[in-house]
Point group: C2
Chain length 286, copies 2
């Protein structure tokens, strides 16, 4: 658990860390966030995470509450105060607190909140055995490419997965194509050894880990295709896997009640996990 | 402004009213709300508002934080402490605070927040002259029938309306039909004197004022049809109007750049405003 939280200029004991009830993050989901992995005290993929944070803020026309240099300083201080070596930092920015009204408040100052917590590495069994995903209809708004805190449908999807005994839920659009997981991107490997993941348009969040995996796969000379794929294609695929900030690359061995490939983690997923892990750890920002 | 807010069991000065940064309302939009008009110190349509609150909670499987009797007592105390005679009360319930994780936290206690504020009656000019609405694509999630705080698309739509000099934005589905306003329901009156509003399915929030207007219109023997209508049909309609808790019934005289009817408030809208106002004031709960 985060012991010390940064809240609008102050470092507070976690229990006392609060935001105003009229913060627009609480009343309108009018805010954005990032989760960054901390490894060995450094930040994984810090630059692309901050770039995406700026993109999200820009799409919602929320002014950055401080410069990137200041933001990075607060990130480091938050990690230091929580003594996090391996874990995550969570950064949330909202449009700020103002008397409740749907339209943007003219004078509000954006809110900035950070927490950091130690997180144990993924249970090795998860990697060895692979995981199951279940499919759910994608009921989100039209702009999941913006990393907003309007995450209610994602929470409902994840809860559905948990109750089904699955690790994640893959969201499916009205054409029967997988968009992405509730907090991860979705990938398959076809019989032609093509690594397929949906193109980053408005229908998915362009995962930072997704971008990293695309890079290491490209560098390794693997065949990459960014296009939609259907649930049926995924079930019949040679391999499937998911990527996210906290999971890196996790092999999928079952989709709903269908076994993927031979029902055990595939070679491509294992190789990409190794490649991305090296890439991520080499690039940590201190 | 609300001077005293109720927050999880305590009445707090507004400035100090806060929720934990890990409240799921703040991090996941995992909560619901109601706004109820206060007239002469009583609550307008209290029973249907509380019924809808229970429906929203049920759809999200959030346990009610207290009995309705207790909730009503807190509502009255919040109004009393803020000395509100004419205004609104705002009630928000979230799944509670818990270490951040998408799936439902097993042990969290739902949060309950209330604010109340005096609100001046609508400027009579608005009723006399009517208002303009602009149309925007409906980019919300698939379940706007749940009155959740995942209101980011609504906030963006309302802001678009404000910048266009309009009173409200009407959201339009991919078939070209109006779903509803960002915080109001949408109505037209056809050349055949039919009063048309979209049927209450998953695509709209079933407004309490919408239900009240349906009732008074039915009692008055007017012709009612619940069905989708297109933007083109609305622009060519005899009348248009909107309904909401804070607006009651407000005539619309322009949609985008098209003049509705004769460009002034229609008879049906004026009559329904009068009928609903009487109905609402007679039924206030004390």
């Amino acid at each position: 658990m985060s012991r010390i939280a940064y809240v609008n200029g102050r470092y507070l004991p976690h229990r006392q860390a609060c935001v105003h009830i009229e913060d627009r993050g609480f009343q309108f989901a009018d805010g954005v966030y990032e989760v960054i992995a901390v490894k060995g005290g450094g930040f994984v993929d810090e630059t692309p995470h901050l770039a995406r944070l700026h993109r999200s803020l820009g799409e919602l026309r929320i002014a950055p509450p401080m410069s990137d240099a200041a933001l990075k300083a607060v990130m480091r201080e938050t990690v230091r105060r929580n003594r996090v070596v391996d874990g995550i930092i969570y950064i949330q920015i909202t449009r700020g607190a103002a008397p409740r009204d749907f339209s943007f408040p003219p004078g509000a100052r954006p809110s900035l909140i950070m927490t950091a917590r130690t997180q144990r590495p993924l249970d090795p069994k998860i990697i060895e055995r692979g995981v199951r995903v279940v499919t759910v209809p994608d009921i989100r708004w039209a702009r999941p490419d913006i990393k907003s805190v309007a995450l209610l449908p994602n929470a409902l999807g994840k809860q559905h997965a948990r109750e089904a005994g699955a690790y994640e839920a893959w969201q499916v659009d009205r054409d029967g194509n997988v968009t992405e997981g509730t907090s991860s991107n979705a990938w398959i490997v076809t019989a032609k050894d093509e690594i397929v993941t949906r193109q980053a348009d408005h229908a998915i969040l362009n995962g930072v880990t997704r971008l990293g995996v695309l890079k290491v796969a490209g560098d390794a000379g693997l065949k990459l295709v960014e296009r939609p794929f259907s649930v049926d294609e995924a079930k019949a695929a040679r391999e499937a896997f998911l990527t996210s900030t906290t999971n890196f690359v996790v092999p999928i061995v079952r989709i709903d009640d269908a076994t993927v490939g031979e029902g055990k983690p595939g070679e491509v997923a294992r190789r990409l996990r190794a490649l991305y892990t090296s890439f991520a750890l080499e690039g940590v920002a201190r």
